[in-house]
Every structure is written in structure tokens, then in C-alpha cells.
Point group: C2
DNA sequence: CTGAAAGCGCTAACAA
DNA sequence: TTGTTAGCGCTTTCAG
């Protein structure tokens, strides 16, 4: 701008010789404007390089066309993929996404949600850092913006959620191992709950259990290694911890291991590699959460692959419906995982 | 809210028995308010659960305390790490980050930048999808918000940039290979330029060249495999393309290869694995851009590791300085890479 | 030390 | 078919 400040609707109105409301209606197509006036306004807009001030629009209309996505941890590729899925859907509805990373920190998460609400997002999609604490509940019960949880669900209030069929995924992976002749199958994972094992992991264990039960195989407590602190520990500690869990499993007759999540699989793989345990001959391996390294490793590692983009898309679709005021009961959508068999099982 | 709408400063003023301006000044600590009035206002704020409306603040003050980070491709872990670096710095200054992914698409990038400007961000940090096209220049020359480029620099206008010492990184990696006795060293990469090789890659090649020159080794054209379309091709195609580049190199006497970026290294590694070429005995390997899979692979792969968080932090620091009006000439900061030697070299 | 009041740029009645 | 105008919730000048 020669002037220094960006042109406003007032400026456009003046150069087009119409009222501001006419400009507004041309910009938003919110009421009929004569061919001729429309032309003059559009001409003026081009001439001045006018762009509507979203902040003012937002303040005045109460809508921002903005969706906030608060992610527990963006270092996790899985969540970036979910973000893509969300973006592709809301883009079609004319909404924009703003992504915020909570770095697995509950305090940051709270701040991020508050910040987004203060900034007037029309809806929120959340991967909560913590599924049992209620710091989010407090925030959101004071607010009537629609919320959708994805991948993890914070319990105890009104919202939709889109989750993986955890039980089914674990069931299929375990069944595959059983069909390959394994009868001593270990389970290694972190969980994100503080006291109890979080729901996601409970469901995965349940799938593991069901497959055993169906095959008439017993469940042995010492085959299941679960450590708390999935959200508290930094990556390196998680790897070290899962390394140790695998070491313990190696003292049992286990001939296959199902990793309940990706930090677990990294430690497990490193342990097996260091100990020169042959995969899959001595220990077969399948893990939840697909990742690039699983294909690059030798041998390549089988995975229960989550349809991340689809989870995001489903969450976004649900949110859009609710924003558009389509009434429907709150619910939980479950998406199935893909079992990708590679060389490790 | 029982009422349905959130409380405003007016509400707070009324219950505290003061003027709105007093409330504002208490909230922002922008002028002295008596102990007593402050107390009453704070009491009212707590009682009503008041939170200042950021949108209104933004409209009125012209500042948003928001920094936009437009990333060429969030699937690249490297950029997520940069985002963390940015966040950690601007957070200390009381700013929030909003992250947007352009998915390597120039049109989306443009839209994202426009969207952020329209929403009133106080500054922008960009990883441009394209360093030679000027679609960004047009946008930004019409705007006086400070901009900092990180990792990649769009040429031709006033802005700071924070880049890697590409030449130095390539030089050190090449020198390491030469010291290990290699005299036939290949170079494989993508570049992001349309016609010419983009600057980043030119610099890396220059480092490769310098190391050769210094050792009195000749540069052979057929040892350098570079393909255009780094930003255009999807991942799978890039891997296939670099796979082919490595196949071609295998017809030369090359005994070591430096990968100029991570998509190249994936194809190279897969090719070597498929052909059962022993690393590092038959072909040694170093790649730019550290990634988890490099440590999980057998053998683990050496890397020129970019200090991603530091790049982000430096960019953010620079931006903050400029936003605070500290005058300084535009410039380019170069950060050094770490050479991490693993089993592949 | 505090209050009144003018607007930031836009939307949406209401009026013509 | 279009214009006038009252705010959205806040900041900040000016007056007291």
C-alpha cells in the first residue's frame, strides 16, 4: 500500500460509489446486487487490492471459519497424517485449519485449547494428552463449540469421537500369529493412563485376549509387559523402558511379540537386534502403528496400520455436520486398521 | 454460562462497579489501577469466568500475538522439529504459533499465507515450496509484516533467513569419506528448482566439490545424479526415482555415495538392499537429514544431521526482534550441521 | 487515579 | 435494488 494501511470496505465503497453494505454483500454474495454495481465493486476491489479483514468479520459475525486441531504430540507422524485428513475435508467446506502441538504436556494442551477458543475457532478436534483427567472437561463445559476427539477420547462429556477399532486390530494381529503356530505370544506397550491402563490399551489387550480364548490358548500374566508413563516419558526413556520389557520377555518361552504402540516397538526391535535374536525365526513381531522405519528395517516389520487420514477425515466430517447444525446424537465412530504382514511374522 | 453468551468486559465492569477502561487496564496491566479497584475487578473476573476476547483485542489493537508458520510439507519430520523450535522461543515472548501445511503445493501455500495475513498474524515464518517462483513475493510486498525464511529461502525480496551451512555439511561428509579411503564418491539428490538446481542443492554440491578439490580428486559428472521435481513428485515416486539413480551409479566404479536429501537416501538404501550390495564394504553411505529409520536400519546410516530445533529457534528469535521494532539489516544466519557417523561409512 | 467515548472493519437489521 | 446505521468487544485518547 502506498498509503501504508490496507484498504477497507469503506475505501472500496468510496471508489465504487456505493455503500459499504453493498460491498459487503458483493464480497459475501449475501444478497442480490445489480450486475452493474457488482461490476463496479469488483473493479474497485481489484484496483485497491482489497481483502476482507477476517478479524473484523469474525468479531462481527461470531464465526471464524477456523477449525483448531490440538495434537498431543506432533512428533508422531500418525497425527500429522490425521491433520492432513482433517484439512482435506474442512477445506471443501471453506474452513481453515490451525494446528497446535501440546508436546504431550497437559498444561500446554490446556493453554492451546484456551487460546483457540479465545481466538474464536468454530470447532475443535482434539487428541487429548490424557484421557482420564478432567482439565479439558472444565474448559469445554463452559463453551458450546462442537468438539470431536480423534484417536484418543477424553471421557465424561458430550462430544463425538473417532477411534480405531483397537480390539479388532489386536485380535487380527494375534490371530495371525496364532495361525503361524505361535502359542507363546508376548504383549509389550506403554499406556497413557495415570493409575489404570488407558482405554486404548485395554481394548488392544482385550483383542489379544479374545484371540487367545478363541484358540483355546491360556493368557499368561508374565507375557504381558505394560509400563505407565507413555505421555510423561521422553522418547529415549520410552525406548529404554521397552528395551527392558523385551529383555524380561526373553526370559520366558515367548516366540512372538505384539507391540501395543510404536515407542514400544522401537525398544523391542533394538533389544532383539542387540541380542542377535533372529526375527522372525526366534521371535516373530508385529506392532501397532505403521511407520517408515518398519519397512526400512531388516527384516521389515509387520504392522497394524491405522488409517490416519481417514480418521482425520471422519472426525472433520462429523465436526462439519455439527457446525452446520445438523442435529444428531453424540457418538463414537470406529475405523478398522489394516494388518500389513511383512517379513517379521 | 447460564446466560449462553460469554461475559465481556462490560459485564465485569458492571459487577465490579468500575469503568470498562479500568477493567481493560487491569487485564493488560497497561496503567496503574488502585489496589482496591484491581481487587474488585479480579474478583469479578473470577466470579464471571471472564476471558478477554482475542478477536476484539486484535481488531482494536492491530496486534494478534500470533505467529504463522507455513510449512512446505509437514510429513517431513524435520519441519515439525523446526516448529517446536519456533514455539519454544515465541512462547517466551507471549506469542502463539499457528502451523499450516502446504503439502508441497504452491497454490495451497499462497492460500495459507493469505489466510494468515487476513487473520492478522504479527509475523510469518516460511519454508517456501519453491525458491524461484515469485508468487510469495507478490503477496508479501503488499504487506509490511516481518517474514523470516527457514531452511529454504525464496529469493528476491526483503526478509531474514535462517539456513543450514549446506556447503560445510557436504564438505565434511565428503571429506570423511575421502579420509576413509574413497576416491569414487557418488552424489544422489532431488532438487526443488524448476529449471536450475535450487540453491540448497547447489551449495551441497559445492561442498562435495571442494572436498574433492582439496584432496586433489577429480569430479566426475557421471558420479552426480540429480533429478528435478523434489517438490512435485509424491513420496513413492521420489523413492522410485532415487532407486533408479542409484542403479545407474552402480554401473560406475563408485564405492561411496552421499545422498543430498532424505527422499534420495530412501531409494538408495532400498536399491542397495535389493541388490544385496554390502554397506559399507561395497558401498559406503552418508545422507543429509537425520531420521529415525537411519538408526533402525542394518547397518545404521551416517547422517549430516540438521539442528532443526535450533534453526526454528533462530528464525523465531530473529522474527521477535523485528516485531519488537529493533532495527537491524536483513540478513541470513547459517547454522552448522552435525556429522553423525554410524555403521554405513 | 478513573471514566467517557470514539472507533478498529465488518455484518445485518431496518428503512427507503 | 440499495443505503444508513447500530453495534461485535475491545483499546486508548482525552478529560477530569
Amino acid at each position: 500500500m502506498a498509503n501504508g494501511r490496507s484498504p477497507t470496505m469503506k475505501d472500496v465503497a468510496k471508489t465504487a460509489g456505493v455503500a459499504v453494505s453493498t460491498v459487503s454483500h458483493v464480497v459475501n454474495r449475501s444478497r442480490f446486487v445489480s450486475e452493474e454495481a457488482t461490476e463496479r465493486v469488483e473493479q474497485a476491489i481489484r484496483q485497491l487490492g482489497f481483502r476482507a479483514n477476517r478479524v473484523a468479520q469474525n468479531l462481527r459475525s461470531g464465526r471464524s471459519n477456523l477449525i483448531g486441531f490440538v495434537v498431543s504430540n506432533l512428533y508422531n507422524y500418525f497425527y500429522v497424517r490425521i491433520a492432513r485428513g482433517i484439512e482435506s475435508v474442512i477445506g471443501k467446506y471453506g474452513y481453515h485449519l490451525t494446528l497446535i502441538d501440546s508436546q504431550e504436556r497437559t498444561d500446554l494442551e490446556q493453554e492451546n485449547i484456551e487460546s483457540l477458543i479465545d481466538r474464536g475457532v468454530d470447532g475443535l478436534i482434539l487428541v487429548p494428552t490424557c484421557t482420564t483427567c478432567d482439565h479439558i472437561g472444565k474448559l469445554l463445559s463452559a463453551d458450546d463449540r462442537p468438539i470431536v476427539f480423534v484417536d484418543r477420547e477424553a471421557i465424561g462429556f458430550q462430544a463425538d469421537s473417532v477411534l480405531l477399532s483397537n480390539e479388532e486390530g489386536a485380535y487380527r494381529a494375534t490371530k495371525h500369529l496364532i495361525e503361524k503356530g505361535h502359542v507363546d505370544i508376548g504383549f509389550v506397550a506403554f499406556h497413557f493412563g495415570h493409575d489404570e491402563i488407558d482405554m486404548t490399551m485395554q481394548e488392544r489387550i482385550e483383542g489379544y485376549r479374545k484371540a487367545h480364548q478363541e484358540a483355546g490358548l491360556p493368557i499368561r500374566k508374565n507375557y504381558i509387559e505394560i509400563t505407565a508413563g507413555g505421555s510423561v516419558l521422553v522418547n529415549e526413556l520410552r525406548h529404554a523402558e521397552s528395551y527392558r520389557m523385551m529383555e524380561r520377555l526373553l526370559t520366558t518361552p515367548v516366540s512372538a511379540v505384539l507391540c501395543g504402540n510404536s515407542p514400544a516397538s522401537i525398544g523391542v526391535f533394538m533389544c532383539l537386534k542387540d541380542r542377535k535374536v533372529k526375527i522372525p525365526e526366534e521371535i516373530a513381531m508385529i506392532t501397532f502403528d505403521d511407520d517408515l522405519w518398519l519397512t526400512m528395517a531388516t527384516p521389515s516389520i509387520s504392522a497394524v496400520a491405522q488409517p490416519a487420514e481417514l480418521l482425520g477425515a471422519a472426525a472433520a466430517e462429523r465436526l462439519m455436520q455439527r457446525i452446520q447444525g445438523k442435529p444428531q446424537p453424540y457418538g463414537c465412530i470406529r475405523l478398522k486398521a489394516d494388518l500389513i504382514i511383512r517379513d517379521s511374522s
